[in-house]
Subunit: 263 residues, 3 copies
């Protein structure tokens, strides 16, 4: 079975950064199977990357190595970590990138990547993706024992995620990210909605619009009308069939949303 290494970065593709990382990995392990998850994370948006890692990486085969580089603190005191979560392996800056994943599935091993023996001989202060994380991932894919990366550390740096305020008949949450369709993904999960009586009894308010009930699919309503549903990542979403709910509502991450149980 080939070793799979996935890449998730905010580098974009206007520069040589993604190519350089791929070259470093393949120079160490030419048989590694490189898989692009995304290089279109908004610059330095750790939350967006954390959502993508939580939504995408657990689907991969056991032992897959996921390298994530959204790294505003590169060259400062922030650590680089190796973590095992579920049956997956991660190499990334310790800045909250794994916080959404770790809230779903507790890490079974966390180590500080500290042993420079497995890095590029010269490490820049500006590109640890190329100089540290790429060679470490490649060495792991060749079978390097993770114990040799550095000492264990007890926990990951947390990230402050906005939490919904839940009362008996109301949940106040917010939009946490917006996908390429313009769907608004909120921090309200299916679990939180479960205690509310039958779903047809729910109303959702966002930006002075009211939505009655949950839909099952994006095409359930007439085009351009707003609808709410539980999306594929298990979160409450606001969508607009055939157009962008984000544009229609002028919504952004942080836009508040209220769910009410109606008697």
């Amino acid at each position: 079975m080939p070793s799979i290494i996935t890449l998730t970065t905010d580098f974009g593709l206007a520069g040589p950064y993604v190519g350089a990382m791929k070259g470093v990995i393949l120079s160490i392990n030419p048989s590694a199977k490189l898989i692009d998850i995304s290089h279109s994370i908004a610059p330095q948006n750790i939350r967006q990357a954390a959502m993508i890692l939580a939504g995408a990486t657990l689907w991969f085969p056991a032992g897959t190595i996921h390298v994530a580089v959204v790294d505003p603190g590169v060259g400062t005191e922030r650590r680089i970590v190796y973590a095992e979560i579920g049956d997956q392996r991660y190499v990334c800056p310790d800045n909250g990138l794994l916080s959404k994943l770790a809230a779903k599935v507790p890490p079974t091993r966390i180590a500080t990547v500290a042993n420079a023996e497995h890095w590029r001989p010269t490490v820049s202060a500006t590109f640890h993706g190329r100089d540290i994380m790429a060679p470490v991932a490649a060495m792991l894919s060749l079978g390097l024992d993770p114990k040799l990366l550095g000492p264990p550390q007890p926990e990951l740096v947390p990230l402050d995620w906005p939490r919904p305020k839940i009362s008996e008949r109301q949940i106040i949450g917010e939009v946490i990210w917006i996908d390429d369709f313009g769907n608004l993904i909120t921090n309200i999960t299916a679990d939180m909605l479960a205690p509310f009586a039958g779903r047809s009894d729910i109303t959702i308010e966002i930006r002075n619009q009211t939505i009655h009930g949950l839909s099952r699919a994006y095409a359930d309503h007439r085009a351009r009308s707003l609808l709410a549903l539980i999306g594929s990542t298990g979160h409450l979403e606001i969508a607009s069939a055939g157009s962008s709910a984000a544009k229609f509502l002028a919504a952004t991450p942080d836009t508040p949303i209220t769910v009410r149980a109606t008697p």
Copy 2:
């Protein structure tokens, strides 16, 4: 020979959707060779995806499996199909995505993907790319007999493509898509132009501009002048050497174009 699976979607890369599909495929067949064709289809633009599938997929080795997910009807009654066209194999929603291809090369087999045995155990109403199409493609790449996917169906859902009006001395067509260079690709093909007398006798009118004759290459004319040529997909294109014809003409899909034979 490794099994090749290509991906064509409108998911964009701001979310976890593409990564989730890749993970599901590789979990079933870690040796599959995944090839990205595009994840930048405009949201729910079936015509654009159909053009890309027709222009790109027939170049692949025999037996390649192409998964296309532009799926506004996900979770509704629309079917998912398996089709064999030329020596290629396709898995996608039955919504016209294969209409351009099937007009070029008639399908030799069409089946409704109906047997849930090969799907993920839990199927969401919002993401059949991950829950149905990815596992089906992965199982096919492992050698699953397509007969086991579901019953044959006689034909694909057609898509209404605008057809040029052709008379003896004139063709009235329209722009059907615009590439990243700003070239305007029309629904007028080289075949339609053939009966017209010598190509130097053609004039092309678009947005109050007149172009005389066909060029052979994008660089045939002086910079910024408009030119017309038969592009690499066999369609009449309007281009502007060194800049964007789409911007220069403020043209969009649907902009009309007239070709006249001049005596």
Copy 3:
């Protein structure tokens, strides 16, 4: 070891061009390992592609074949070349794409790709990436002797790169490209700055802003303040921690920058 073929183009992903090239390569060598470097070069921006090739490709394993297609002159007299630079191999139009690389590492072999025997049987005037460069790269990956591609040529077509004006106490350079973070990469290199007395004695002027001294990392300064540093490609960069220096300064490629040694 699988044969690696990288792709760098200005095609974007709204059309079938990238998919068609991948299909042609894999039809000839289904075992080739395709690696995307970028398909987001600005249309016909040879300088940007040359920077990416220089920054990314030398990191790959020896023998990697890099195909670069930014080709405004397709269908005209411009040549297609095969070149060996360092331990890497390149196939691209001879229009300056390799000029930045060749300035770093002199090519050890250059040949004109002239022998049509290894091309697609029908060659369009508009898409030599698909019809010539893809099949040539695929044949090379199968072991074709480069001598069979065509005759040697003495040198590559040069590209006119803006050179900094260097005097004893001052360097006047310019921005040459802008990455996806909005960092401004200039044509002033670490080598040029070395003779200046201690780096803390440097001031940098750009767009009426003055920056004192060089930073070591992007996060060295308080958010939104401008900083200057030597970036991962060895060039002087202007950055803005947590935001886009390009937006803040309204800078573009060609924006002048002055470095002064202060006594």
